[in-house]
Symmetry: C2
Subunit: 112 residues, 2 copies
DNA sequence: ACTAACTGTAAGTTAACACTAACGCTACGC
DNA sequence: GCGTAGCGTTAGTGTTAACTTACAGTTAGT
């Protein structure tokens, strides 16, 4: 799962993952829609595959890649655990009134 | 949300995020438990904060960081969308029997 | 067998980034 | 006031990694 997050960190690799998640794709197909060469896509797919996010299926000379639901579920479970933890810690915080008694600082931010 | 994934790619930053998610922490506390210097932790926290994953709250000279549930929810929503999509595409695949008619290749892998 | 189609791999380059050391800043205690 | 505690920031460095080019391998068609 650790590798899955590093794999999805790169924007290009994330676009590849999204394409493959939408529908099974061959390497050439993906490269045709991205501003990188085909070998680059091949390397990215290897990373995604080793991370357990993608599965390969050879059809003649074409290598078809599709989403691996298992890897995706691992990532989801990782973040779901944080959500549960944040709920309980929020409950405790309210009970002990640790939060809400002062929180005054804003600054640069981004992405809604 | 894009920045959130790149933020969580680094192992050190991920450990910091996990610590802060578990309970609110000051910068020095975090640095004490990690094999990096305090400025490094400070830089990592800035990245996490700009990614919307963490919130800052100044208590005197101490800067307390805690999880930002909103940023976490964004990440969860991102992956949840893929899960839904993979379910529908799996349904279509079964109906058209696109999968299950040949898939024979194994190789090196890792992480169960 | 030869060619074409499709892909993976190796080597090398360049930009990004995680880190440390040094410095500057703000809040609290004396 | 002065000193201390706790952080953030800057500049500089070393390493990682994403990319391209060139090459090698496998499959299908003639």
């Amino acid at each position: 799962m650790a590798n899955a997050l590093t794999a999805l960190a790169d924007p290009t690799r994330r676009r590849i993952f999204e394409m493959v998640a939408d529908r099974p794709c061959a390497v050439g197909e993906i490269a045709a829609e991205l501003p990188v060469t085909r070998p680059a896509v091949s390397q990215h797919l290897k990373v995604l595959r080793l991370a357990g996010l993608v599965r390969e299926q050879r059809r003649g000379t074409r290598h078809i890649y599709r989403l691996d639901p298992a890897g995706l579920d691992d990532v989801r479970a990782y973040f779901d655990a944080f959500s549960e933890r944040s709920l309980t810690s929020f409950k405790e915080a309210v009970e002990h009134s640790v939060i809400g008694d002062r929180d005054d600082n804003e600054e640069e931010e981004e992405e809604s």
